[in-house]
Every structure is written in structure tokens, then in C-alpha cells.
Amino acid sequence: MKRRVGGLETEFGLVCVRADGSRALEPEAAARELFRPVVAMGRSSNVFLRNAARLYLDVGSHPEYATAECDDWWELVAQDLAGERVLGDLVTQANERLAAEGQDARIHLLKNNVDSAGNAFGSHENYLVDRRGEFTRLPRFLLPFLVTRQIVTGAGGVVRDDDTGGGDAGRFVFSRRSDHMWEAVSSATTRTRPIINTRDEPHGDPSRFRRLHVIVGDSTMSEVSTHLRFATTDLVLRLIESGRTLPDLALADDIAAIRTVARDLTGMAPLPLEAGGTTTALEVQQRWLDLAATVAEGPAELAALQDWQRALDAVRTGDRSWAATHLDWAIKERLLGQVAGRRGITLGDPAIERLDLAYHDIDETQSVFRALQRRGLAPREVTAERIEHARTVAPATTRAHLRGAVVTAAQEHGVDHVVDWTTMRLGRPGAMPVQVMDPFATESAEVDALLAQIREAGEPAAPPPA
């Protein structure tokens, strides 16, 4: 697809502690407290926002934010950050309520992917692909790319490998996610987690579209890292869809390989190929990058190629000067190493794990990532104005525009409404649903009629809540 719709679902970790760090509220109670304003406004803990994103509580009391459909990857980054800010405000409000009640309790919301007991939660990328196209041959080409992508877009972190060295001292890895991947392709998400999930929920016309659900990614704090996840994967998908002859880099064992790649900071560890012989993470990424250069168009894609190359160069040469202020894994590698050195502790020390959690804290006053960003030590590519805009305005070039218009009108006029990814209707019994099955649609006479109904049914427009 030349133009592709994508979206990002982020599950957040939740912990509520006293000043001494001990647990103050169970996750279920903390989630209820956090979502109090959401439930008050939407009468549900599962709502669509004016920016057409979905905000809800998922399995395990994980707050989840799913961006609306985007067809531009910087817009997607802005929409994702808007969700971070929405949830950050909910954290601030909840902590103010708890403090006003005199409770020794503070909620932390963490945009990471694993708790201290090893329970995982996700950052799921969605890409619209053509139903008729190349879905059956797609995983064969896409998997080696996804297995090795972590050397560019991993969030970094520390694992304790008792068998392969490291042990209690801990070792730095590109991504901890690799240890939570159990198969290459399947329909599961919670039991035996795959790299590509095949659950067939197109959220569109099923005869035309399919949704590719990639669940191997880390939640990324760096805007450059998040952008590269989508920009590079989109280019690789375009190459696969082009039907041209592509290098067969199918790996003998995707799961063994993903764990090897995570632990090999040189990018040069041999990865056995299915066809015999070996490759390396750097080679797989460089080959896809070189191919992507033949289809990339426009300034944003060309800039993404440049960032992709800088990332690979950082691994190849060991020169982290660009990566250590742009890519999550490299920012974190430097930060954790410095703090461990300064304190005379190993990476396996609980203080380092605490620091890793603080890096992913989305509360501006608590977040180490945001503190680095304020000092120019982490990238800031999307302006504060653009993020603020994305909190209340949906992407203009996809179906999200229609959903955003309906939610906005219904909220302004105080009209009950029921909305999901494809369908919108008034909340009153018997109201006829309007379906929009084309994710690229930005105009619809039926939606215009629904908007007119909302204006008639509702009160005069009230100013939006501050």
C-alpha cells in the first residue's frame, strides 16, 4: 500500500505506593481511582475521545490507550504522546484527590512492558494490509526484520541470565521483550505470545482489508524510536507487497534468534538461517534498509532512512554519540551505566531497576525520560503545541476524522452516543448505527446526518471542559 493506516495500542503498568515505597493500593483499586473522571464523563471505563482514540481499562487493570487511525507516522507519534498526556493528567488528578483525602499514596503509571515479577503487557502496532495481497508470504519476510529491529527501536533494559553469565550482576540488552516472546506467528496474546498476532479483526471491510498486528515491540519513550518503529516497518511492508524478489532471510529459529539479538550489543552474533548458513542482526537490518531506500519517498521517509542508518552505525562502530541522545536503548545504556558506575553497583542492583521504571514514568514530575528531554539529552521532535492539539483533534486524513467529529459533537451537545472503530450511533434505544468500513474515508453523508441528529437532540453547545 502506498498510503497505509496504522495505530498504536499502549498498555501501561500501574503501581500505587506510600512514601516508603510499599504498596498503598492494589492495582484494581488504583485503576478505579485513576479512571474516576473518565467514568464520570463517559459512564464507562471504555471510551472514545475527541481525538478518536480509545481509552480503557484492559485485562489486569492495565490502562490502555489506542491511537486513532493515522496515515502519517509523525502524526501517530503526536497522537501517542497525546494519550500519554491524557493519562498523565489523570495521574495528577488522582494523586491530588488521594492527597486531599490525607492518604499516603501516590499512583505511578509506567509506559513500559514488564513488572518486577516478569508479568508482561504490550505495545501493539497495527498496520492495514491488503486482504488479497501477500499475507501468506508476509511473515516469512517480515519476521527476520522484526526479530532484529530491536537493535534500532528496542527500549533497552537489564536481564539476569543465571545460565549464560550476567546472573545477579545483570546484563544490558536491546530489549527485554525478547524474553516474553514464545512463537513467531499465532492468534494468542496472553498465553504463548507471538511476534505477529494473526487475530483477524480488520476494523474495516473484511473483503478488502486485513490488520497486521505486531506485538513484539517495546513501549518507546523516545519520539525517534517510536517513529522508526512505524516508518521502517511500513517501508518493509511496502517492499513485500510490491511482489518483487526479496532476499530470503528466514531464520532457523525466530525465538532463539530474538533472544540472541537482544543480548548481543555488537549486532554481529551469528543467526542460523533456515536455508543453512548464518546472518547477523546488522546484516538483516542493513539489507532491508538498502532495499527500503529504493521505495522511500518524500522528506519524512528519507529522514527516517537516515535515522535508521545512524542507528545501525551506532551498533556497528560502537560510537553512540548520536544514538545516546536519540534512541531509547542507547539513552538508557548510557544512563544506567553512568548511575551504576557512580554508585559502585552492578546493573543487577534494585536501584537500577527502579531507575529503569522511572525512565518510563509518564508523570512529568517523576519521569527521568522527560528530565533528560528537558536537558536536551533525549529527542524532542514533536512540539508541545502539536501534542496539545492532538489531545482533542483527530487525524484529519483517515476515518478517525469522522469518529472525532461525532464524539466531539456528542460531548459538546451532551448527547449519549455509542462508538467503536467502525460504527457510531446515538445512545437511545432503536437508534440506527452508521458504519464506516473504509479506514481512509474522511467524508460520509450518513455521518453528516448523524451529526445533524446530534445537534437537534442535544443541548446548545457547551464550552468544552478545561
Binding site: 505511578h108 503487557f121 548510557r334 548511575v339 514530575t365 528530565a371 536537558r375
Partner: protein, 62 residues
């Protein structure tokens, strides 16, 4: 880190950062910015790090 704040004095404005001082993996681009943040991190890691980490246990999601 539960009650302390990592707010930089002066709010959102990034501090002036100097040119790259090293190409190795050990030094921040801005030595001054790095010193500041390491001091702040030292403060917040003094207490309760291990207890906080142990408190963060949640059922899995996805």
C-alpha cells in the same frame, strides 16, 4: 522517588547544551546537564528503590 520531583528549575526550556564532548559511550553530550540529572537521580534513588520495585507487581495484560 515517590514524593520527590524531577522538575528542572526553569520548567520546559532545555538547558544550553555544549557540543559533543566525547564519542564514547560513557559521557553525556552535555556534561553539565548530565551532572545535574545524575545528582537528582542520586537523591531519588537513596531511599525505597527496592521496596518500590517489589511493589510493582500486576497481572499481565495484552
Amino acid at each position: 522517588m515517590s514524593q520527590q520531583s524531577l522538575n528542572a528549575p526553569g520548567g520546559e526550556e532545555p538547558e544550553q547544551t555544549g557540543p559533543e564532548t566525547t564519542t564514547g559511550g560513557q559521557t553525556f553530550a552535555s556534561a553539565q546537564g548530565a551532572g545535574d540529572i545524575l545528582d537528582e537521580i542520586d537523591e531519588v534513588l537513596e531511599s525505597n528503590a527496592e521496596t518500590f520495585v517489589r511493589s510493582f507487581v500486576q497481572k499481565g495484560g495484552e
